[in-house]
Symmetry: C2
Subunit: 211 residues, 2 copies
């Protein structure tokens, strides 16, 4: 049985002997928003699922929109981590790139789409923009670190810096996810393959005439 | 003075001696949605601006969402055309790519963002998906044609096919536009530059070891 405890310093989310209310609310929000979309979920439902009160959402996050953006940010960072873990054993650069894209457009796509929606939501809202900015920066840093790691392990050559490849990769993934969500079954996989080929061309382990 | 005429065959938008009501509604929608966003504009306001009745929106487009998706589609196709016209005189591949991206993230960005929003709106809605699918296909066809034209004119070499480059380009542009909209002044131009370098690398007019 879960405890329903409202601490006096709820702002920090501190709660004795278990995950904080803030944490539980965010986890419930990730699950519910991902399943039913922003409009399909009420604050009351999220609170109920986290064994909390609706006003605790306002207290910890400020608004339903801010909770959505925080949930989407956490979800996309987890998806990125999963994509990295599942592609670690790739045997070639081509294999690695295709696996990354397949994961992010497949099992990882609800999180990527949720973050795309959060990005649209954050327009002209300074507090939400700040969460998006931090998340995009984290995606870039984590992606760059994973790439440097892969390059050191495999000796694959790249045409440009891991920083540039990572930034370009995420822009293309956000765009692909948007197209795939919009087109549903009508999405043409040749578009995903085009992005894969773009990345493979950049990361190609062939001898560069200028290298 | 504009005429307010409701024709019996309004479905085809036919109206004697002037642009059809359908056309006027779509143009008014482009202007108003681009200025004030989806939620900031009412159907009544669009109808008023097109000198039409609100029920004509329903008649010609079915819903406010469908009108938005049609308006966004037309707007992004126009922006793409403008981007092409304004970069025709580029002196090098690098210059061409940077000018394209600058236009689409600058003067062309309201249209690109509107289309990104329309893509999110079209999720799980078959009739809206069909409009998005046609528009994306048109963007690909027009982009490929423009690229083939440029390559024939300049003799620039590319690493892969114009079809792949065009598809990859638009995915990256949609992603970049989303990031720029979400981050506002916090958007880092190094991300746009990363996409430019990705494209330049693909389109580079250097000797390819495999060519």
């Amino acid at each position: 049985m879960k405890l329903k405890v409202v601490t006096s310093d709820g702002k920090t989310g501190a709660r004795t002997g278990g995950p904080s209310t803030r944490h539980l609310l965010r986890e419930a929000a990730i699950e519910l928003f991902m399943a039913k979309g922003y409009d399909g979920v009420s604050v009351a439902e999220i609170a109920r699922s986290a064994d909390a009160f609706p006003n605790q959402v306002t207290h910890h996050f400020g608004s339903k929109e801010a909770l959505f953006v925080e949930a989407a940010s956490r979800a996309v960072l987890r998806s990125a981590k999963q994509a990295e873990l599942r592609t670690r054993d790739s045997k070639s650069n081509e294999d690695h790139t295709r696996k990354l894209i397949s994961y992010l457009l497949g099992p990882g796509s609800p999180a990527v789409m949720m973050f795309a929606e959060a990005m649209l939501m954050a327009r002209r809202k300074a507090d939400l923009q700040e969460i998006i900015r931090e998340t995009v920066a984290e995606l870039h840093v984590a992606g760059e670190a994973a790439m440097v790691d892969t390059l050191m392990r495999t000796g694959w050559r790249v045409r440009t810096t891991p920083d540039i490849i990572t930034r370009g990769f995420w822009s293309a993934i956000f765009g692909l996810a948007l197209e795939k969500a919009a087109l549903g079954e009508r999405f043409e996989y040749s578009t995903a393959e085009a992005v894969a080929l773009m990345m493979i061309n950049l990361k190609g382990n062939f001898s560069d005439p200028r290298g």
